[in-house]
């Protein structure tokens, strides 16, 4: 089988899976064109490789099959890592921070993971916050896993869950819309970063992408993207 990097360079095009339903990493503008952190990251990589970029919008259900059936070369979809996942695909180095928090209305008193005890908390299935929260939550927490961010947010706004775990930027966007129930930050979940996914046994591509990420961290390109979409510079430890 041909080496993925070689194929990309030969075809002069890279196909990258990005989310469309997971702001601020992937969403759409009024022209329905994808935009967001992941999209800019994809553009950056294509740019550095000097090839054309083909964006493939994906959902949490089909992003990995796209990769495995070679319909895309990379998945940039705010992927979190776990050992099971690492058996199936390879991950690059981290390319984005994820400011995850648990949010809730003012009258719900929670300060840390233990405080979640007995509460119902909404989260987007398969997202980083889902993986992390599942790890740290006490046994008597009810975690409701929705299909996408909208489900999670709607569940919170309609009172179907007491709390939600989501990204800062998402929460900020909600507050901006001035809903009757304002999500306040309760505590931060471990600042777990996101990785780019690619097929196994592609050392050349892996090395190349890692190289691009390293360079982008150095020259401030990633900081710019982070500032634009997450409202903060990359944290130092990333």
């Amino acid at each position: 089988r041909a080496d993925a990097l070689a194929t990309i360079e030969a075809n002069k095009v890279i196909r990258i899976a990005v989310p469309q339903d997971f702001p601020p990493f992937g969403t759409v503008g009024t022209d329905m064109q994808p935009k967001g952190y992941d999209v800019d990251m994809a553009k950056l990589i294509a740019d550095k490789l000097g090839v054309k970029l083909e964006l493939v919008p994906v959902t949490s259900a089909n992003r990995i099959p796209y990769l495995q059936t070679n319909k895309v070369d990379l998945v940039i979809s705010s992927l979190g890592k776990n050992p099971d996942r690492e058996k199936v695909i390879d991950f690059t180095m981290a390319y984005a921070p994820f400011f995850n928090g648990v949010f809730g209305p003012a009258d719900v008193m929670v300060k840390d993971a233990k405080g979640l005890s007995g509460k119902t908390i909404g989260v987007t299935r398969g997202a980083i916050e889902d993986l992390e929260l599942t790890k740290i939550a006490p046994a008597d927490v009810t975690i409701k896993r929705y299909e996408d961010n909208n489900g999670t947010i709607s569940a919170f706004l309609s009172g179907q869950v007491d709390l939600v775990a989501t990204g800062n930027v998402v929460a900020a966007a909600i507050i901006e819309r001035n809903p009757p129930k304002k999500p306040e930050i309760k505590f931060l979940i471990k600042n777990s970063p996101c990785y780019i996914g690619l097929n196994k046994d592609e050392p050349a591509l892996l090395a190349k992408v890692n190289e691009i990420i390293t360079a982008a961290k150095k020259d401030g390109a990633l900081d710019a993207i982070s500032e634009k979409w997450l409202g903060a510079k990359l944290p130092a430890e990333l």
Binding site: D21, M32, T59, T69
Partner: protein
């Protein structure tokens, strides 16, 4: 983050609805053709054909369309067969539609009185001639209302193609909601568009049915 106006929402949804319509038409026409072929195998004399079609129908009516689409697109991909999304979507929807239409039509053919078969054979007609001149013209007539009625299911079924990357009406609704966090506006419009697409179909199916019933009463 949210710079969508109502008009942006409606416009984008309407644009996406074009996919819904296109997919519906393709699946309906394709499904009709395949379904007709299967129908002949199902009501024909060949035992193997009958069993094959029955298994086929059981399979496609017994599993969620979502999974069929997934397996058609990614499953074939796993075996190195790179089907484009439109082909996989078309294929899965057509096969799914065909399974239902075959069954609907079989019911119609079987509802034709046995006397029609006997009268035409006693006049010396062969199987094909009976079908062509006596059975199908009658079956076709009673098949129209349930067939049109089923087209509503096809329209709604196209929503599931989002699993393989189609941004049709439902998916567009999800994407826009995730950009705007205004589920009620967006899904309200989505529901309305679906209603506008489906209702004329259901209604005409009902009207056709009523017409036929009136016609039947004269017998």
């Amino acid at each position: 983050m949210n710079d969508f106006t109502i008009w942006d929402i409606v416009r984008n949804l309407l644009l996406a609805a074009r996919w819904t319509v296109a997919l519906s038409i393709v699946s309906f026409i394709g499904g009709g053709l395949v379904g007709a072929g299967l129908l002949f195998a199902r009501i024909g004399k060949g035992r193997a054909g009958q069993i094959l079609v029955r298994t086929y129908v059981e399979l496609f009516q017994g599993t969620p369309l979502l999974m069929q689409l997934f397996l058609a697109f990614f499953g074939l991909g796993l075996f190195g067969i790179d089907v484009p999304a439109w082909l996989a979507a078309g294929l899965a929807l057509i096969l799914w539609t065909a399974a239902f239409l075959t069954e609907i039509w079989r019911g119609c053919v079987e509802s034709i009185a046995k006397g029609q078969w006997e009268a035409s054979s006693s006049l010396g007609m062969g199987y094909i001639q009976q079908m062509r001149h006596v059975i199908l013209p009658q079956a076709l007539k009673i098949a129209v209302p349930p067939t049109v009625g089923f087209s509503v299911q096809v329209v709604k079924g196209t929503a599931l193609t989002s699993i393989i990357g189609f941004v049709e009406l439902s998916k567009a609704g999800t994407i826009v909601t995730n950009a705007t966090f205004e589920p009620f506006t967006v899904y309200g419009v989505v529901a309305l568009i679906y209603f506008c697409l489906c209702w004329p179909l259901s209604k005409s199916s009902q009207i056709l049915e009523r017409k036929l019933n009136v016609a039947h009463r004269n017998h």
